[in-house]
Amino acid sequence: MTSISFAEPPPRQSPGRRLSTFLYRHPRLRLLALLALPVGWLGLVYLGSLAVLLLSAFWKTDPFTAQLVRELTLDNFRRIIETPVYRDVAWRTVRMAVLVTIACALLAFPLAYYMARVASPRTRNLLVVAVLMPLWASYLVKAYAWRTILSAEGAINWALDPLGLTFNGYSNTGLWLVFTYLWLPYMVLPIYAGLERIPASLLEASADLGGRSLRTFAYVTLPLVFPAVVAGSIFTFSLTLGDYIAPTLISSDQFVGTVIYREYGTALPVAAAYALVPIAVIVGYLLVARKLKAFESL
């Protein structure tokens, strides 16, 4: 009896198959090939350009033509440390970032709590859409719209008029309102996600143990959602710290972003040196945030 062979013939050796076998045998190489493009983008384009910027902080410019002179100097750092205006501007920016973060947190928390724990699924979806909608509008459109609201003939002064009050909208207070409005969605969403993650069984257990609503909130909900609040605050803090468009339009005070933006054109080394200030602040903030476990809530 002849044996009938059912085995398939071995597949033909084509270059594609050879490559596939090679990659199968070398998993590390496979990983490298997969990650090469994004890591390359991160390393070369992002970190590389940041490195060039920071390197230029050690150079200077020709006093007339403002061209870069590639000689090492510490003058730029000396200038931003010694001249008081740079300290004032940095302090003003950090203060604004903190105030905006607090305002966003206070406004976002009730909204996120309602969305996560109280609202019906239909209302919840509508609210999520409503919170995200402003992100679709252009930044400049929103900033100019707020310019109209804050103006001397704008909505706010119109509302305050019967009470005999006036509000100077083109000020840091007005800017604080604009920032709070702009970054609110970035605070609402992480808090919403954090609150949603709390299992209802925990709250029921707290009630079983005798905790009334305020106690449950203070001792169970708040500690569990705090990392999410910190995660949201990373967005509001860093976005405010670096912004230069809204300050130019709303307030006439200088902020870190506006100073860097102005110096960048013909005094690049000073701008680069000054850019280290927000970088240092954010790195510090992120280290604190990591300690508070905010990265797991992002």
Partner: protein
């Protein structure tokens, strides 16, 4: 095992960063061209016909301009085949950094940009034989120190204008004729929070201009070339003014137009462009050249020395010097044309008179924007002046 791969990953990341740094540092280099270069740019034709043919192949021209400076672009495109792409600059510093990116073919440079660009070689001299309309430009504008070097013309003049004092006639008295309304103590108090000032270090010259009129003992002759003592006095004046200023408008003309319309600003400095826009919108404003004189600008279209579309740029410069374009932009922006043939074509037959195109005496107390330089721009070695870099640094301090 996990520790080993984590450590390995960390070393790989470090290696990548170092590699990135070295690649980038090696690539760092190169700048503008050399100063005093020839007019011949790579790719430029050597005769009018050749330029026109090559321009059709290029198909586009990329410009850095003051807002509203490019006019009749559709006509230009249909005649030459070059599409016009423009980018508005906020200030001369802004324009310099834009042109240095290499992405643009030309710029409408004011005096405080043109001198720097000529010195660094970022702009090339022009061969006026290849620009027929250049011959019609007023002689009084040619061969000035802001548009030529060693007798070689570096661009085609565009137009000139003053920085006006503009105020709302329903708040500020209509017969105001002096800069005192934004410098004197009692006036600052009266208009506190509603003053609108140009946000650029060149505004220090306006403070110097006021000191020229009110403190002659300082001996200021040229508001752009200031000794340290004169400069400190101007900066002190600006720091005194700063708390009363409502807005510093950053070359974004929309911001100033909006605040005058809503009444948030009632007095300040402006360009003719905003003034005309506000008049068209029937906002009650008036703009004047005060009796102390004013700063101003005389702008020139210049070609980038490494322009990618040099032929289209030459045709553009010729187009902007033509009577039709000159008439349109002079009326649209509110400036004096430099090709007097345009005077017959303006919609307002008195435009050239109203804007003093031929009246050189009117321009005697208009100090065109120029770059402060350490040698004061004169031959006197004894005096040294404050440099552009110091002006810029001082402006950041004034803004506070």
């Amino acid at each position: 095992m996990k520790g080993r791969t984590a450590r390995g990953a960390r070393w790989a990341a470090l290696g990548l960063v170092v590699a990135a740094l070295s690649v980038v540092a090696a690539g760092c280099g190169g700048g503008g061209g050399e100063a005093g270069g020839e007019w011949q740019i790579e790719g430029l034709g050597s005769s009018l016909e050749e330029i026109q043919d090559l321009a059709r192949e290029e198909g586009q021209v990329n410009l850095v301009q003051w807002p509203g400076y490019s006019v009749l672009t559709d006509k230009f495109t249909s005649e030459t085949g070059c599409k016009v792409n423009t980018k508005d600059g906020a200030s001369s510093d802004d324009m310099i950094s834009l042109i240095q990116t290499g992405a643009y073919d030309g710029v409408s440079a004011s005096g405080n940009a043109s001198v720097r660009l000529m010195t660094t070689g970022d702009v090339a001299p022009v061969n006026t034989d290849l620009i027929p309309n250049f011959a019609d430009i007023q002689e009084g504008i040619k061969n000035k120190d802001y548009n030529s070097l060693d007798g070689q013309p570096y661009g085609v003049p565009h137009g000139r204008g003053p920085n006006y004092l503009m105020f709302r006639t329903d708040v500020v008295p209509e017969d105001t004729d002096s800069w005192g309304v934004i410098w004197e103590d009692d006036q600052l108090e009266r208009y506190k929070g509603k003053i609108s000032i140009y946000d650029d270090s060149i505004f220090i010259a306006d403070a110097a201009l006021w000191l020229m009129a009110t403190q002659p003992e300082l001996g200021i002759e040229n508001p752009y070339q200031l000794t340290r003592e004169q400069f400190d006095a101007a900066v002190a004046l600006l720091k005194k003014q700063a708390p009363y200023v409502g807005e510093y408008w950053p070359g974004d003309v929309v911001k100033q137009i909006q605040s005058y319309t809503s009444g948030d600003s009632v007095v300040g400095t402006t360009w003719p462009y905003q003034y005309l826009q506000l008049l068209n919108a029937k906002v009650p404003v008036k703009a004047i050249k005060p009796k102390e004189g004013t700063t101003g600008w005389s702008d020139t279209w210049m070609i980038y020395s490494k322009a990618q579309n040099p032929n289209c740029m030459y045709l553009w410069m010729n187009h902007m010097a033509s009577p039709e374009a000159q008439a349109t932009v002079a009326e649209g922006f509110g400036e004096a044309p430099v090709n007097l043939k345009a005077c017959a074509l303006t919609k307002n037959p008195n435009h050239c008179e109203d804007f003093h195109a031929e009246d050189e005496s009117w321009w005697e107390d208009v100090y065109y924007w120029t770059t402060p330089s350490a040698d004061c721009g004169d031959d006197d070695d004894a005096t040294t002046c404050v440099t552009q870099a110091d002006w810029k640094a001082a402006w950041t301090e004034i803004r506070g």
